[in-house]
Amino acid sequence: MFHSLGRYLLLLRLSFKKPEKFSVYWSEVMREMVSQGVGSLGIIGIISVFIGAVATVQVAFQLSSPLVPQSIAGSISRDSTILEFSPTISALVLAGRIGSSIASQIGTMRVTEQIDALEIMGVNAPGFLISPKILSGLSMVPLLTVVSVALGLSGGYLACIVSRDIAPTDYVVGLRDSFNPIIVGVCAVKSISFGFIITSVCSYFGFYTSGGALEVGQSATKGVVFSCIWILFADLLITSVML
């Protein structure tokens, strides 16, 4: 375990060495941003709307008492969406979507000698391959989380219209009621951390792939599994420290 941790830290150090040419690296960052950000919008949109809707319906079901104002369902949905559902569930989905793609892409480059070709040219392969992915993850995962929050809350509103368990106006009142800005800070810290975990852990497993197609698949699986575990661990840690 310590051996792997050491290799992971050394790989990160190599990844952030001075680039050979900034413009080439920057275009790689842009390409990764499109791939990770725009490419994940669909899946994030779908899960966010449904999770927001389900959360609202379930909260409404559990608080079906005449003594509790209906608007409270909106407040609880808002807090749980911003604090947990959007950053964490989105990150777990993105670990599957982005993480497996990163690990298998870098792993395939390793087993087909493309990484050797980069090194022969004098290119710092970890820097060229990994740093653009991490930088892109650090910016795109938080942006996707913002989209997820917006769509999750909209999903809750749609659920109110469709199910009629709560009046949509009460839901909106609940969304605006007793808002504590710290939850946005927690959400931001979580999404940035998760972006880093997904991209760096999956890059690590891809970079140290050896063998052939079978091992590339195993690296992708390991990358996703370890990312998910670290996301959940970081989720607990950030929540405990910040709230």
Binding site: E20, K21, V24, T108, M109, T112, E113, Q114, D116, A117, E119, I120, M121, G122, V123, N124
Partner: protein, 250 residues
């Protein structure tokens, strides 16, 4: 010129190379031959720095490459072109982008100059007009030629070629050998080719080293190889009945 001195390489307890010494001269096609598992590719990877030798040294024009750190090796690496066994083209890039990739990173050429260079390299390997294709759209022989075009884009002083003929038909193999030969003369490169293709050995082998069980077993030229009394080398070169018959006629 490249010089290797007493190169040893072990993977765990398995000694793959045992004390290899040789010199590879500029303007010559230097061939490393040997059976499967004899250490040919490991020696090539030790020379280019993809493997660190367990002991021994590699010198590029007198400079000790083995002792250099990664960033110190960069100036020499810019002078190296390498064709890999499976071509190792970047899948996500077009042929043109593959060739201009090292130019983008290490030169200040304008976009049009880089495109001109890419087109020149493609024309040199008889692939004019194929710049917009992606590696997945190319045949095995075309991939090798694009690999060569990428290797020569920076006008290398040292050209390394790993199994250039593997998976190719005899005619394409000969074309690739001729191309390597022409480029060596054109750029006066120190060319090192790992192969076990006997047509290549006889056709372009200016200087040949034969590895057997990780040791240098024989060294000479393609003229000398036909008349050697080295038993292991003869078993390797003249393994087929056709080659045995050809040798008797020599």
């Amino acid at each position: 010129m490249i010089e290797v001195k007493d190169i040893h390489k072990k993977f765990g307890d398995n000694a793959v190379l045992r004390g290899i010494n040789s010199q590879f001269k500029a303007g010559k096609k230097n061939l490393i031959i040997g059976g499967s598992g004899s250490g040919k590719t490991t020696l090539l990877k030790c020379i280019v720095g993809l493997h660190e030798p367990t002991s021994g040294e590699v010198f590029y024009n007198g400079e000790n490459f083995t002792e250099m750190h990664f960033h110190e090796r960069v100036p020499i690496r810019k002078e190296i072109g390498m064709l890999f066994q499976n071509s190792a083209l970047f899948d996500s890039m077009s042929v043109e982008q593959n060739i201009t990739f090292p130019l983008n990173l290490f030169t200040d050429m304008s976009k049009s100059e880089k495109l001109d260079r890419a087109n020149f390299c493609l024309e040199r390997v008889n692939l004019k007009g194929k710049g917009k294709l992606f590696p997945s759209e190319l045949s095995g022989g075309m991939k090798k030629r694009v690999g060569i075009a990428r290797a020569i884009s920076m006008q290398p002083k040292y050209l390394f070629v790993d199994e250039p003929n593997s998976g190719l038909d005899p005619l394409t193999s000969i074309l690739i050998d001729e191309l390597i030969s022409e480029l060596t003369e054109e750029y006066n490169t120190t060319t090192v080719v790992v192969t076990h293709d006997m047509n290549s050995v006889m056709g372009i082998g200016d200087h040949i080293i034969f590895l057997f069980s990780g040791e240098k077993w024989w060294e000479g030229t393609n003229k000398e190889i036909a008349h050697t009394n080295n038993k292991e080398l003869n078993n390797f070169v003249f393994a087929s009945p056709f080659m045995k018959a050809a040798r008797e006629k020599l």
